[in-house]
Amino acid sequence: MLDAAKTETLLEVNNIEVIYNHVILVLKGVSLSVPKGGITALLGGNGAGKTTTLKAVSNLLKSERGEVTKGSILYRGERVQDMAPADLVRKGVIQVMEGRHCFEHLTVEDNLLTGAYTRTDGRAAIARDLEMVYSYFPRLKERRKSQAGYTSGGEQQMVAMGRALMSRPETILLDEPSMGLAPQLVEQIFEIVKAVNEGEGVTFLLAEQNTNVALRYAHYGYILESGRVVMDGPAQALRENPDVKEFYLGMSDDGRKSFRDVRSYRRRKRWLA
């Protein structure tokens, strides 16, 4: 288990505030720190601001008419807020966006190759990595020549993951990697994350709704609620927290209960009511 205190902090988000369209305040002071070589999970309900946080880090907010109005984002101690997203990728930070965002008209293979856009280590290395991605997702190999727009939802999700892996990044920001994937693939994705993390020391920051799996693979977790961090701690500790258990893992003291039985409404406990 990786100890956050002992390793270097790679990414540091200090008390950022994000506003969309000049009027909609979404993040109200979020701070995180992502240690080098760690897997950090960002958890929280719909609209908590996970995606927004990731986009703030990768500087994709501007294209959504959002902006970071307060706070700072440091990557290896360097302020990266005003950097172009492309430069950030060159620095080794890449994001897998929520909702797949494949290049519809490009083939699956071309999609994967765009991931290698910033690489300069030669065709051979790229070809090798392409094979690696195909070995992770054999399904993609079968569909390599078809346009990404015509592949199924899950296949597109694989393309998005594979594309990020193709860039050989130092840090990957993953936004809901498991969405729409079949169960065994979900496990597999996280296995890949783990393998890449351990084998190559790639750092991960992932936003995930599948709390169960996420907390199993992550080292550290943050829980967001309507734009604020309401709880954080080592994954192990979070897993055992009773609130987390109830609201995020769907477990009560007497184990998992059937979805059929939750027919009456339970008011969610708000940390910040």
């Binding site: 994709l60 965002h101 765009t114």
Partner: protein, 328 residues
């Protein structure tokens, strides 16, 4: 051979040539559309601006002379030198690159991830601006453009066909040059977009700005590159059309001749521009030549569009355009 057939052949040939001229303009549109999904309304004005700049540089005009004179009461007109054509073309190219830089910095950068119609509108703003700017910079009078391209009937073709069919065909030398240039351009651009890393990036950008950003494609770089190339294509089109008619405002209207070509060939296909051009060229010329006299003539403007429309009804993405992906 019967006369009608000979005439038809001649008209067809000339239609092909006209089509090449249209294709030169259409190419600029295709490039930008392909690389960013922007329908660049300003392409025609870009051609005008390039041609104005070329002539201005060539003839040693003082830029903004009129403005300077009006503000200061001076009477500056010309530096009194002339610049050799080739050098002038290179300098103009430099100006077009600067323009591309400015467009990226001042306009496109701020409109990342906006819907196509908004980007289209922005290019309209740029067209207005450039039109005014070109006029202020170089004046609105008509200018003769001469970079030494041959013009007039090609004696070779006329002689050759005369000995073959007993009737000499008319082909304009300028058109022959245009054909050569167009073929070279199309080949080079196709290779570039098909086989280079940048080519793939262009198409990625056109599909999804945000995703392109997220994989590290620099929109800035791509856009400057593409607008520079489009500027170059505009310059070529400006030279070809300007040699015919002189350089003046109307040059910007050649864009209207390129639109049906674009639509028929497909907005995203470089070879489509040339094929579309040829079909439109031949189609409208033959129609005007044979049907025109029966229904009063001047049909070319609308016929080109109607022809393209008919094609579209059967292939909504044009002949070579990327298929519109319809999925849920």
């Amino acid at each position: 051979m019967p006369d009608q057939l000979l005439f038809a052949m001649e008209v067809t040939l000339n239609g092909l040539m006209a089509g090449v001229m249209y294709a030169l303009v259409a190419l600029g549109f295709v490039l930008i559309y392909k690389a960013s999904g922007i329908f660049n309304y300003a392409q025609g004005v870009l051609a005008l601006f390039a041609a104005l700049t070329l002539v201005g540089i060539q003839q040693g005009q003082v830029p903004f002379a009129h403005l300077i004179n009006a503000m200061t009461g001076l009477h500056v007109e010309s530096f009194g030198w002339t610049v050799p054509s080739l050098l002038a073309i290179l300098l103009t190219l430099g100006v077009m690159v600067l323009l591309a830089l400015a467009i990226e910095k001042l306009v496109l950068k701020h409109l990342v991830n906006q819907p196509p119609i908004i980007l289209f509108m922005a290019t309209i703003g740029m067209a207005y601006f450039l039109e005014g700017f070109g006029d202020v910079m170089w004046g609105a009078d008509i200018k003769k453009l001469d970079v030494g391209l041959p013009q007039g009937i090609s004696e070779t073709v006329e002689g050759l066909t005369d000995s073959l069919f007993g009737y000499g065909f008319f082909i304009d030398n300028l058109d022959i040059v245009a054909t050569v240039v167009a073929v070279a351009l199309v080949t080079a651009l196709t290779l570039f977009s098909q086989y280079s890393k940048q080519g793939r990036a262009l198409r990625a950008v056109a599909d999804d700005h945000q995703a392109a950003l997220s994989v590290g494609i620099s929109l800035r770089f791509i856009w400057i590159l593409v607008w520079s190339i489009a500027g170059f294509v505009a310059l070529v089109a400006g030279i070809m059309w300007g040699s015919k008619s002189g350089v003046q405002f109307s040059l910007s209207l050649i864009a209207l001749k390129a639109l049906p070509v674009l639509m028929l060939g497909g907005f995203t296909s470089i070879p489509g521009a040339i094929v579309g051009g040829l079909i439109i060229g031949v189609g409208e010329k033959l129609f005007e030549f044979f049907a025109g006299p029966l229904i009063g003539g001047a049909t070319e403007n609308w016929f080109a569009y109607v022809l393209a429309l008919l094609f579209l009804v059967f292939r909504p993405q044009g002949l070579f355009g990327e298929k519109i992906i319809e999925r849920v």
